[in-house]
Amino acid sequence: MTSRMDVKKLVLTSNYAAAYAAKLARAEIISAYPITPQTTVVEKLAEFIERGELKAKMIRVESEHSAMAACIGASATGARVFTATSSHGLLYMYEMLWWAAGARLPIVMGVVTRAIAPPWNIWTEHADILSPRDSGWLIFFAESAQEVLDMILQAYKVAENEQVLLPVMVGWDAFISSHTAEPVDVPSQEIVDEFLPPRKSAAFLLDVKDPVSHGNLVFPDFYMEFRYLMQRGMESARDIIRKVDEEFGKIFGRHYGGLIEKYRCDDAEYALITLGGSSGDAREAVDKLRENGVKIGLCRIRVIRPFPVQDVVECLSNKEGVIVVERDISMGLCGVLATEIASVLFMNGIQPKFASFIAGLGGREVSVEDFLKMLDFSLKEFQRGNKRVGPHWYGVKEEVIP
Protein backbone atom coordinates (compact mmCIF):
# COMPACT_ATOMS: atom_id res chain seq x y z
CA MET A 1 0.00 0.00 0.00
CA THR A 2 1.26 3.47 -0.79
CA SER A 3 1.01 6.24 1.73
CA ARG A 4 0.87 9.95 1.10
CA MET A 5 4.32 10.39 2.64
CA ASP A 6 5.89 7.89 0.25
CA VAL A 7 8.85 9.28 -1.64
CA LYS A 8 10.31 7.62 -4.69
CA LYS A 9 14.01 8.19 -5.09
CA LEU A 10 14.78 8.36 -8.81
CA VAL A 11 17.95 9.26 -10.67
CA LEU A 12 16.82 12.14 -12.86
CA THR A 13 18.27 14.87 -15.02
CA SER A 14 16.89 18.34 -14.34
CA ASN A 15 14.89 18.01 -17.56
CA TYR A 16 13.23 14.82 -16.37
CA ALA A 17 12.72 16.33 -12.91
CA ALA A 18 10.85 19.18 -14.62
CA ALA A 19 8.66 16.72 -16.51
CA TYR A 20 7.87 14.87 -13.25
CA ALA A 21 6.98 18.20 -11.64
CA ALA A 22 4.57 19.16 -14.44
CA LYS A 23 3.00 15.71 -14.14
CA LEU A 24 2.68 15.98 -10.35
CA ALA A 25 1.18 19.46 -10.79
CA ARG A 26 -1.41 17.81 -13.06
CA ALA A 27 -0.73 20.13 -16.01
CA GLU A 28 -3.75 19.87 -18.31
CA ILE A 29 -2.39 21.50 -21.46
CA ILE A 30 1.20 21.28 -22.67
CA SER A 31 2.32 23.05 -25.82
CA ALA A 32 5.95 23.25 -26.85
CA TYR A 33 8.33 23.21 -29.77
CA PRO A 34 11.53 21.15 -29.57
CA ILE A 35 14.84 22.93 -29.02
CA THR A 36 18.13 21.68 -27.62
CA PRO A 37 18.67 21.35 -24.66
CA GLN A 38 15.01 21.58 -23.61
CA THR A 39 13.60 18.82 -25.83
CA THR A 40 13.77 15.97 -23.34
CA VAL A 41 11.44 17.84 -20.96
CA VAL A 42 8.47 17.65 -23.30
CA GLU A 43 9.55 14.29 -24.74
CA LYS A 44 9.20 12.86 -21.25
CA LEU A 45 5.81 14.55 -20.82
CA ALA A 46 4.65 13.11 -24.17
CA GLU A 47 5.71 9.71 -22.84
CA PHE A 48 3.68 10.22 -19.63
CA ILE A 49 0.62 11.15 -21.69
CA GLU A 50 1.12 8.20 -24.07
CA ARG A 51 1.36 5.77 -21.14
CA GLY A 52 -1.80 7.22 -19.62
CA GLU A 53 0.06 8.44 -16.52
CA LEU A 54 -0.79 12.07 -17.21
CA LYS A 55 -4.20 13.20 -18.34
CA ALA A 56 -3.18 16.17 -20.47
CA LYS A 57 -3.48 17.43 -24.00
CA MET A 58 -0.23 17.98 -25.91
CA ILE A 59 -0.73 20.70 -28.53
CA ARG A 60 1.90 20.38 -31.27
CA VAL A 61 2.79 23.67 -32.92
CA GLU A 62 5.07 25.03 -35.65
CA SER A 63 7.02 27.50 -33.50
CA GLU A 64 7.62 28.78 -29.99
CA HIS A 65 5.54 31.87 -30.79
CA SER A 66 2.62 29.51 -31.43
CA ALA A 67 3.50 27.38 -28.39
CA MET A 68 3.14 30.38 -26.09
CA ALA A 69 0.01 31.51 -27.96
CA ALA A 70 -1.54 28.07 -27.36
CA CYS A 71 -0.55 28.26 -23.69
CA ILE A 72 -2.15 31.71 -23.44
CA GLY A 73 -5.42 30.49 -24.98
CA ALA A 74 -5.52 27.42 -22.77
CA SER A 75 -4.63 29.30 -19.61
CA ALA A 76 -7.29 31.92 -20.40
CA THR A 77 -9.92 29.18 -20.15
CA GLY A 78 -8.70 28.26 -16.66
CA ALA A 79 -6.52 25.24 -17.51
CA ARG A 80 -3.21 24.56 -15.77
CA VAL A 81 -0.58 24.94 -18.47
CA PHE A 82 3.07 23.95 -18.85
CA THR A 83 5.68 24.55 -21.51
CA ALA A 84 9.47 24.64 -21.76
CA THR A 85 12.02 26.20 -24.07
CA SER A 86 15.57 27.49 -24.44
CA SER A 87 17.54 30.33 -26.00
CA HIS A 88 16.23 31.10 -29.51
CA GLY A 89 12.91 29.48 -28.65
CA LEU A 90 12.44 31.89 -25.75
CA LEU A 91 13.37 34.82 -27.97
CA TYR A 92 10.99 33.65 -30.69
CA MET A 93 8.08 33.76 -28.21
CA TYR A 94 9.16 37.12 -26.80
CA GLU A 95 6.08 39.03 -27.98
CA MET A 96 3.77 36.37 -26.54
CA LEU A 97 5.62 36.47 -23.20
CA TRP A 98 4.48 40.03 -22.69
CA TRP A 99 0.97 39.05 -23.72
CA ALA A 100 0.84 36.20 -21.19
CA ALA A 101 1.93 38.52 -18.39
CA GLY A 102 -0.40 41.37 -19.33
CA ALA A 103 -3.28 38.90 -19.57
CA ARG A 104 -2.45 37.83 -15.97
CA LEU A 105 -2.22 34.11 -16.85
CA PRO A 106 -0.46 31.78 -14.37
CA ILE A 107 1.47 29.80 -16.99
CA VAL A 108 4.59 27.96 -15.76
CA MET A 109 7.46 27.50 -18.19
CA GLY A 110 10.80 25.75 -17.86
CA VAL A 111 13.73 27.62 -19.41
CA VAL A 112 16.86 25.57 -19.96
CA THR A 113 19.33 28.43 -20.26
CA ARG A 114 21.48 28.42 -23.36
CA ALA A 115 23.67 30.94 -25.19
CA ILE A 116 22.31 32.89 -28.15
CA ALA A 117 23.78 32.69 -31.69
CA PRO A 118 25.83 33.59 -33.58
CA PRO A 119 28.22 31.97 -32.94
CA TRP A 120 25.92 28.96 -32.77
CA ASN A 121 26.22 27.47 -29.28
CA ILE A 122 23.99 25.12 -27.30
CA TRP A 123 25.68 25.40 -23.90
CA THR A 124 24.67 27.33 -20.84
CA GLU A 125 24.54 31.07 -20.48
CA HIS A 126 21.92 33.22 -18.79
CA ALA A 127 21.41 35.76 -21.60
CA ASP A 128 18.14 34.11 -22.66
CA ILE A 129 16.30 34.01 -19.33
CA LEU A 130 17.50 37.48 -18.34
CA SER A 131 16.24 39.09 -21.58
CA PRO A 132 12.52 39.14 -20.68
CA ARG A 133 13.10 40.46 -17.17
CA ASP A 134 10.93 43.54 -17.80
CA SER A 135 8.02 41.54 -19.25
CA GLY A 136 6.02 40.82 -16.10
CA TRP A 137 7.04 37.15 -15.78
CA LEU A 138 8.31 35.99 -12.43
CA ILE A 139 11.77 34.49 -13.02
CA PHE A 140 13.05 31.70 -10.76
CA PHE A 141 16.38 29.89 -11.12
CA ALA A 142 17.22 26.45 -9.75
CA GLU A 143 20.58 24.91 -8.94
CA SER A 144 19.85 21.15 -8.84
CA ALA A 145 17.41 18.64 -10.31
CA GLN A 146 15.67 18.40 -6.92
CA GLU A 147 15.26 22.14 -6.82
CA VAL A 148 13.87 22.15 -10.40
CA LEU A 149 11.14 19.71 -9.32
CA ASP A 150 10.37 21.58 -6.11
CA MET A 151 10.52 25.00 -7.74
CA ILE A 152 8.02 24.11 -10.49
CA LEU A 153 5.53 22.89 -7.87
CA GLN A 154 6.09 26.11 -5.91
CA ALA A 155 5.85 28.17 -9.11
CA TYR A 156 2.26 27.05 -9.78
CA LYS A 157 1.26 27.86 -6.22
CA VAL A 158 2.78 31.36 -6.49
CA ALA A 159 1.54 32.08 -10.03
CA GLU A 160 -2.04 31.06 -9.25
CA ASN A 161 -2.23 33.07 -6.03
CA GLU A 162 -4.93 35.69 -6.53
CA GLN A 163 -2.62 38.46 -5.36
CA VAL A 164 -0.05 37.49 -8.01
CA LEU A 165 -1.72 35.99 -11.13
CA LEU A 166 1.39 36.31 -13.27
CA PRO A 167 3.30 33.68 -15.27
CA VAL A 168 6.50 32.13 -13.92
CA MET A 169 9.58 30.88 -15.71
CA VAL A 170 11.84 28.45 -13.89
CA GLY A 171 15.40 28.33 -15.20
CA TRP A 172 18.18 25.78 -14.99
CA ASP A 173 21.49 25.45 -16.83
CA ALA A 174 21.96 23.66 -20.15
CA PHE A 175 23.72 20.30 -19.80
CA ILE A 176 25.37 20.88 -16.41
CA SER A 177 21.82 20.63 -15.03
CA SER A 178 19.58 19.67 -17.95
CA HIS A 179 21.40 16.46 -18.90
CA THR A 180 23.20 15.58 -15.67
CA ALA A 181 21.45 12.97 -13.57
CA GLU A 182 21.30 13.02 -9.79
CA PRO A 183 19.12 11.39 -7.12
CA VAL A 184 15.80 13.19 -6.76
CA ASP A 185 13.08 12.65 -4.15
CA VAL A 186 9.83 12.44 -6.11
CA PRO A 187 6.88 12.97 -3.76
CA SER A 188 3.59 11.09 -3.99
CA GLN A 189 0.73 12.45 -6.05
CA GLU A 190 -1.48 12.56 -2.93
CA ILE A 191 0.79 14.91 -1.03
CA VAL A 192 1.37 17.15 -4.07
CA ASP A 193 -2.42 17.36 -4.51
CA GLU A 194 -2.67 18.58 -0.91
CA PHE A 195 -0.02 21.23 -1.49
CA LEU A 196 -1.31 22.22 -4.93
CA PRO A 197 -5.08 21.91 -5.33
CA PRO A 198 -6.67 22.45 -8.78
CA ARG A 199 -6.44 25.96 -10.17
CA LYS A 200 -9.18 28.25 -8.91
CA SER A 201 -11.48 30.00 -11.32
CA ALA A 202 -10.84 33.69 -11.90
CA ALA A 203 -13.33 36.42 -12.75
CA PHE A 204 -12.06 36.96 -16.30
CA LEU A 205 -11.73 33.46 -17.77
CA LEU A 206 -12.91 32.62 -21.28
CA ASP A 207 -16.22 30.77 -21.13
CA VAL A 208 -18.49 30.11 -24.12
CA LYS A 209 -21.52 30.50 -21.84
CA ASP A 210 -20.48 34.01 -20.82
CA PRO A 211 -18.37 35.34 -23.71
CA VAL A 212 -15.77 38.07 -23.15
CA SER A 213 -12.92 39.47 -25.22
CA HIS A 214 -9.42 39.71 -23.73
CA GLY A 215 -6.70 42.24 -24.39
CA ASN A 216 -8.80 45.07 -25.75
CA LEU A 217 -7.61 48.51 -26.74
CA VAL A 218 -7.11 50.68 -23.69
CA PHE A 219 -6.50 54.38 -24.24
CA PRO A 220 -3.82 56.45 -22.44
CA ASP A 221 -6.33 57.34 -19.70
CA PHE A 222 -6.28 53.77 -18.28
CA TYR A 223 -3.28 51.84 -19.72
CA MET A 224 -0.99 52.93 -16.89
CA GLU A 225 -3.34 51.51 -14.24
CA PHE A 226 -3.06 48.02 -15.77
CA ARG A 227 0.76 48.19 -15.63
CA TYR A 228 0.53 49.43 -12.03
CA LEU A 229 -1.60 46.37 -11.16
CA MET A 230 1.06 44.07 -12.68
CA GLN A 231 3.78 45.72 -10.62
CA ARG A 232 1.55 45.34 -7.51
CA GLY A 233 1.26 41.62 -8.34
CA MET A 234 5.06 41.43 -8.49
CA GLU A 235 5.45 43.27 -5.19
CA SER A 236 2.95 40.92 -3.50
CA ALA A 237 4.76 37.92 -4.95
CA ARG A 238 7.84 38.42 -2.77
CA ASP A 239 6.04 37.56 0.43
CA ILE A 240 3.99 34.82 -1.22
CA ILE A 241 7.17 33.16 -2.56
CA ARG A 242 8.57 33.11 1.00
CA LYS A 243 5.33 31.71 2.46
CA VAL A 244 4.97 29.07 -0.25
CA ASP A 245 8.59 27.97 0.31
CA GLU A 246 7.95 27.69 4.07
CA GLU A 247 4.73 25.74 3.53
CA PHE A 248 6.55 23.48 1.07
CA GLY A 249 9.22 22.91 3.72
CA LYS A 250 6.64 21.88 6.32
CA ILE A 251 4.99 19.39 3.96
CA PHE A 252 7.97 18.00 2.04
CA GLY A 253 10.83 18.55 4.51
CA ARG A 254 12.85 20.71 2.10
CA HIS A 255 12.90 24.46 1.72
CA TYR A 256 15.32 26.88 0.16
CA GLY A 257 15.21 30.16 2.04
CA GLY A 258 12.82 32.06 -0.22
CA LEU A 259 14.15 34.48 -2.80
CA ILE A 260 17.83 34.00 -2.01
CA GLU A 261 19.77 31.14 -0.48
CA LYS A 262 22.39 32.20 2.03
CA TYR A 263 25.37 29.97 2.74
CA ARG A 264 27.76 30.88 5.59
CA CYS A 265 26.62 34.46 5.14
CA ASP A 266 25.59 35.62 8.59
CA ASP A 267 29.04 36.31 10.07
CA ALA A 268 30.69 36.88 6.69
CA GLU A 269 32.65 40.01 5.81
CA TYR A 270 32.49 39.25 2.11
CA ALA A 271 29.65 37.87 0.01
CA LEU A 272 29.91 36.04 -3.30
CA ILE A 273 26.82 36.26 -5.49
CA THR A 274 25.90 33.60 -8.07
CA LEU A 275 22.99 32.26 -10.07
CA GLY A 276 22.24 28.66 -11.03
CA GLY A 277 24.25 25.50 -11.50
CA SER A 278 27.77 26.73 -10.78
CA SER A 279 26.73 27.73 -7.25
CA GLY A 280 27.85 24.30 -6.01
CA ASP A 281 31.41 25.11 -7.08
CA ALA A 282 31.03 28.56 -5.55
CA ARG A 283 30.02 26.93 -2.25
CA GLU A 284 33.16 24.76 -2.31
CA ALA A 285 35.30 27.81 -3.02
CA VAL A 286 33.70 29.54 -0.04
CA ASP A 287 34.51 26.51 2.16
CA LYS A 288 38.15 26.53 1.03
CA LEU A 289 38.54 30.24 1.80
CA ARG A 290 36.86 29.73 5.19
CA GLU A 291 39.51 27.06 5.96
CA ASN A 292 42.09 29.79 5.33
CA GLY A 293 40.32 32.12 7.73
CA VAL A 294 38.60 34.35 5.17
CA LYS A 295 35.13 35.25 6.40
CA ILE A 296 33.17 34.80 3.20
CA GLY A 297 29.69 33.52 2.38
CA LEU A 298 27.56 32.79 -0.67
CA CYS A 299 24.31 34.48 -1.63
CA ARG A 300 22.64 32.49 -4.39
CA ILE A 301 19.91 34.37 -6.22
CA ARG A 302 16.87 32.06 -6.63
CA VAL A 303 14.40 34.68 -7.80
CA ILE A 304 15.37 37.37 -10.30
CA ARG A 305 11.85 38.77 -10.72
CA PRO A 306 10.49 40.07 -8.45
CA PHE A 307 14.04 41.15 -7.56
CA PRO A 308 14.81 40.20 -3.93
CA VAL A 309 15.41 43.79 -2.87
CA GLN A 310 14.85 43.42 0.87
CA ASP A 311 16.65 40.06 1.04
CA VAL A 312 19.72 41.38 -0.81
CA VAL A 313 19.80 44.54 1.31
CA GLU A 314 19.56 42.54 4.56
CA CYS A 315 22.18 40.06 3.40
CA LEU A 316 24.69 42.63 2.13
CA SER A 317 24.15 45.64 4.44
CA ASN A 318 26.94 44.65 6.86
CA LYS A 319 29.40 43.31 4.29
CA GLU A 320 32.87 44.73 3.65
CA GLY A 321 32.83 43.58 0.03
CA VAL A 322 30.53 41.99 -2.54
CA ILE A 323 31.73 39.88 -5.48
CA VAL A 324 29.31 39.07 -8.32
CA VAL A 325 30.17 36.26 -10.76
CA GLU A 326 27.67 35.81 -13.58
CA ARG A 327 27.16 34.01 -16.89
CA ASP A 328 25.74 36.93 -18.83
CA ILE A 329 26.65 40.31 -20.22
CA SER A 330 24.28 43.18 -20.91
CA MET A 331 26.06 44.40 -24.03
CA GLY A 332 27.17 47.99 -23.61
CA LEU A 333 26.98 47.99 -19.80
CA CYS A 334 28.12 45.06 -17.64
CA GLY A 335 26.64 41.95 -16.05
CA VAL A 336 22.91 42.08 -15.39
CA LEU A 337 23.15 40.83 -11.79
CA ALA A 338 25.96 43.26 -10.96
CA THR A 339 23.92 46.15 -12.35
CA GLU A 340 20.81 45.19 -10.44
CA ILE A 341 22.57 44.47 -7.15
CA ALA A 342 24.58 47.70 -7.38
CA SER A 343 21.42 49.70 -8.04
CA VAL A 344 19.55 48.10 -5.12
CA LEU A 345 22.51 48.77 -2.81
CA PHE A 346 22.82 52.38 -4.01
CA MET A 347 19.10 53.05 -3.57
CA ASN A 348 19.34 51.78 -0.01
CA GLY A 349 22.44 53.77 0.85
CA ILE A 350 24.76 50.77 1.15
CA GLN A 351 28.20 51.04 -0.43
CA PRO A 352 30.39 47.98 0.11
CA LYS A 353 33.47 47.30 -1.97
CA PHE A 354 32.23 45.77 -5.19
CA ALA A 355 33.75 43.38 -7.73
CA SER A 356 32.06 42.07 -10.85
CA PHE A 357 33.01 39.22 -13.20
CA ILE A 358 31.60 37.97 -16.48
CA ALA A 359 32.49 34.27 -16.60
CA GLY A 360 31.53 31.09 -18.39
CA LEU A 361 29.75 32.54 -21.41
CA GLY A 362 28.68 29.95 -23.99
CA GLY A 363 29.06 27.11 -21.50
CA ARG A 364 32.74 27.61 -20.63
CA GLU A 365 33.38 25.82 -17.35
CA VAL A 366 33.55 27.84 -14.14
CA SER A 367 35.24 25.53 -11.65
CA VAL A 368 36.06 25.78 -7.94
CA GLU A 369 39.57 26.84 -9.00
CA ASP A 370 38.13 29.61 -11.18
CA PHE A 371 36.00 30.90 -8.31
CA LEU A 372 39.06 30.84 -6.03
CA LYS A 373 41.08 32.85 -8.57
CA MET A 374 38.33 35.46 -8.93
CA LEU A 375 37.87 35.70 -5.16
CA ASP A 376 41.63 35.91 -4.43
CA PHE A 377 42.00 38.62 -7.07
CA SER A 378 39.05 40.61 -5.66
CA LEU A 379 40.17 40.33 -2.05
CA LYS A 380 43.69 41.48 -2.98
CA GLU A 381 42.32 44.44 -4.92
CA PHE A 382 40.05 45.34 -1.98
CA GLN A 383 43.05 45.17 0.38
CA ARG A 384 45.03 47.44 -1.92
CA GLY A 385 42.29 50.02 -1.43
CA ASN A 386 40.42 49.49 -4.70
CA LYS A 387 36.74 49.76 -3.90
CA ARG A 388 35.52 48.97 -7.40
CA VAL A 389 36.90 45.94 -9.23
CA GLY A 390 35.86 45.10 -12.78
CA PRO A 391 33.73 44.31 -14.60
CA HIS A 392 36.31 41.72 -15.66
CA TRP A 393 35.86 39.17 -18.43
CA TYR A 394 37.27 36.24 -16.51
CA GLY A 395 39.40 33.85 -18.53
CA VAL A 396 38.93 35.60 -21.85
CA LYS A 397 41.76 34.50 -24.15
CA GLU A 398 43.50 37.82 -24.80
CA GLU A 399 45.98 36.13 -27.16
CA VAL A 400 43.25 35.37 -29.74
CA ILE A 401 41.63 38.81 -29.60
CA PRO A 402 42.73 40.78 -32.68
Binding site: G102, A103, R104, L165, A202, A203, F204, P211, V212, S213, H214, G215, N216, L217, V218, F222, E225, F226, L229
Partner: protein
Amino acid sequence: MSFKVPLTPISRPAKASVGKTGLWRFLKPVIELKKCKKCGLCWMYCPDIAVTFDEMGFPHINYDFCKGCGICANECPTGAIKMVREGL
Protein backbone atom coordinates in the same frame (compact mmCIF):
# COMPACT_ATOMS: atom_id res chain seq x y z
CA MET B 1 -14.14 57.03 -8.89
CA SER B 2 -16.59 54.19 -8.36
CA PHE B 3 -15.36 52.44 -11.52
CA LYS B 4 -12.47 50.01 -10.90
CA VAL B 5 -10.30 48.49 -13.63
CA PRO B 6 -10.14 44.67 -13.76
CA LEU B 7 -6.75 42.87 -13.66
CA THR B 8 -6.61 42.65 -17.43
CA PRO B 9 -8.75 44.46 -20.00
CA ILE B 10 -11.91 42.52 -20.87
CA SER B 11 -15.01 43.48 -22.78
CA ARG B 12 -18.40 41.88 -23.21
CA PRO B 13 -20.10 41.60 -26.59
CA ALA B 14 -21.94 44.84 -27.35
CA LYS B 15 -23.47 46.05 -30.55
CA ALA B 16 -21.41 48.73 -32.27
CA SER B 17 -19.56 49.93 -29.20
CA VAL B 18 -17.39 52.14 -31.45
CA GLY B 19 -20.25 53.40 -33.61
CA LYS B 20 -21.09 52.71 -37.26
CA THR B 21 -17.81 51.31 -38.56
CA GLY B 22 -19.15 51.43 -42.13
CA LEU B 23 -17.91 55.03 -42.10
CA TRP B 24 -14.32 53.67 -42.25
CA ARG B 25 -14.99 52.17 -45.70
CA PHE B 26 -13.57 53.57 -48.93
CA LEU B 27 -14.34 50.54 -51.17
CA LYS B 28 -17.89 49.22 -51.12
CA PRO B 29 -18.87 45.64 -52.00
CA VAL B 30 -21.79 45.57 -54.46
CA ILE B 31 -23.49 42.23 -55.12
CA GLU B 32 -24.82 41.45 -58.60
CA LEU B 33 -27.61 39.09 -57.56
CA LYS B 34 -28.01 37.65 -61.10
CA LYS B 35 -24.58 36.00 -60.75
CA CYS B 36 -25.15 34.86 -57.12
CA LYS B 37 -25.47 31.08 -56.51
CA LYS B 38 -26.43 31.58 -52.79
CA CYS B 39 -23.40 29.55 -51.66
CA GLY B 40 -23.01 31.72 -48.54
CA LEU B 41 -19.19 32.00 -48.68
CA CYS B 42 -19.43 35.82 -48.41
CA TRP B 43 -21.44 35.39 -45.19
CA MET B 44 -19.03 32.79 -43.87
CA TYR B 45 -15.86 34.81 -44.50
CA CYS B 46 -17.16 38.26 -43.50
CA PRO B 47 -15.14 39.21 -40.37
CA ASP B 48 -17.76 41.77 -39.33
CA ILE B 49 -20.97 39.71 -39.59
CA ALA B 50 -22.10 42.35 -42.10
CA VAL B 51 -23.69 39.89 -44.54
CA THR B 52 -27.33 38.89 -44.02
CA PHE B 53 -29.76 36.86 -46.19
CA ASP B 54 -33.14 37.88 -47.53
CA GLU B 55 -36.18 35.56 -47.57
CA MET B 56 -35.06 34.25 -51.00
CA GLY B 57 -31.67 33.26 -49.59
CA PHE B 58 -29.74 36.05 -51.37
CA PRO B 59 -26.96 37.83 -49.45
CA HIS B 60 -27.09 41.55 -48.67
CA ILE B 61 -24.44 43.78 -47.17
CA ASN B 62 -25.13 45.79 -44.02
CA TYR B 63 -23.36 49.01 -45.04
CA ASP B 64 -23.62 50.44 -41.50
CA PHE B 65 -20.94 47.96 -40.37
CA CYS B 66 -19.19 46.71 -43.55
CA LYS B 67 -15.65 48.19 -43.40
CA GLY B 68 -15.02 47.38 -47.06
CA CYS B 69 -12.24 44.84 -46.48
CA GLY B 70 -13.08 43.05 -49.75
CA ILE B 71 -12.79 39.49 -48.44
CA CYS B 72 -16.31 38.66 -49.70
CA ALA B 73 -15.41 39.87 -53.22
CA ASN B 74 -12.20 37.88 -53.13
CA GLU B 75 -13.93 34.69 -51.97
CA CYS B 76 -17.03 34.87 -54.22
CA PRO B 77 -16.68 31.92 -56.64
CA THR B 78 -18.87 33.48 -59.36
CA GLY B 79 -17.44 37.00 -59.27
CA ALA B 80 -20.81 38.41 -58.22
CA ILE B 81 -19.29 40.92 -55.79
CA LYS B 82 -17.43 43.98 -57.09
CA MET B 83 -15.59 46.51 -54.95
CA VAL B 84 -16.68 50.01 -55.95
CA ARG B 85 -14.94 53.19 -54.80
CA GLU B 86 -17.07 55.20 -52.38
CA GLY B 87 -18.00 58.68 -53.56
CA LEU B 88 -16.10 61.42 -51.72
